[in-house]
Point group: C2
Chain length 222, copies 2
Amino acid sequence: MSTLLRVDASIRLDGSVSRALADSAEAAWKAEHPDGVVVRRDLGQHPLPATVWPTLAAAQVGQEPVADSDRMPLDEAKAIAADVAAELRAADAVLLAVPLYNYGIAQNVKTWIDLLLIDKELVHGPSPIAGRPAIFALARGGGYAPGTPKHGWDHATPYLERIFGEVFGMNIRTAAAELTLAPVTPGMEQLIDASKVSESEAHVDAEKHGTVVAREVIGTAA
Amino acid sequence: MSTLLRVDASIRLDGSVSRALADSAEAAWKAEHPDGVVVRRDLGQHPLPATVWPTLAAAQVGQEPVADSDRMPLDEAKAIAADVAAELRAADAVLLAVPLYNYGIAQNVKTWIDLLLIDKELVHGPSPIAGRPAIFALARGGGYAPGTPKHGWDHATPYLERIFGEVFGMNIRTAAAELTLAPVTPGMEQLIDASKVSESEAHVDAEKHGTVVAREVIGTAA
């Protein structure tokens, strides 16, 4: 029996493309691996409080608590960080569903990553999760492909690849839908068809990744 | 009389290099412009709550509140966003003191930027703050220069430049200190001298930027 950690970051439930892509990946994973367990963390519905990481990071550098600052009790912060890191360490595979928000990493995802990196073994290695598979289910409202005006404006994907690929040493497979705002944004009407093609292709990718990762995990576990 | 908005993001007070650089820039600005006003927002000591932006962004896309999700009252969130945007719009110049945290944008800064971008005029323009000066006072624990092993791992500076330079249309001047962790990190002893040089140069840059920006603001206002 193995575990898939699914992390959602969209602030939407209805109409979230990243959640829909993750649903496709998860369904394919389950179909291949019916006795697998899916553990969920929903950063979109339940963002981690803004004071957890500052409390822990300040303590790590030996900074005395300042009376006036917004912090939380250190023990409480440690418990949250331990919980978050344990969840990642226990996962045989990870499924990240992350929208691009304001050209950058979703704030709730950066908050979560900072908290993971309180675990010094995850930062400096040897990474306890090196070699494990990660599926990225990404949604971007606009188009960011080479040749488009906003090429280079997606500052989130390179950062996610840096942390999960290079710092954690995971093997990343990506399913990304672009132009997801076209169907609901005045002025983007002419991009609706391209948006549908992108979303449809991303679902095919997400399903494929779900299947392949389930097989990989079962094979490794066998 | 003109206004400098100073925003600090370091979770430290004592020993914060970004705060010290901002102190240098601010002192030079004041020396040149004694009747100028400095407005401060300290995101390091008082991070914005994690629920403000999700509440507002969900409302903007017409998402009905979900009973189970962590949100705040919409009116309260709107008041915070209006406050934050008004502060930026009212500033003749901006001084941002931001450390590089975990190779990415500081979580409290992304949270603040997301909130600013709730103001649709700041996103789509014409930017009400285009052409105004911004000083970046940046601190990085390691070395990220071309030729170093971690070149390309600073994912924060390009993002800050994107938002303040390209989205807001501000004129950015940067003072950046690198290797700031060398004096306090075992194994980095051989980099302490280079760290001191970098910090010293950054203070010179910060002072210069403070002086030049004050003159620019006074000139513009005259």
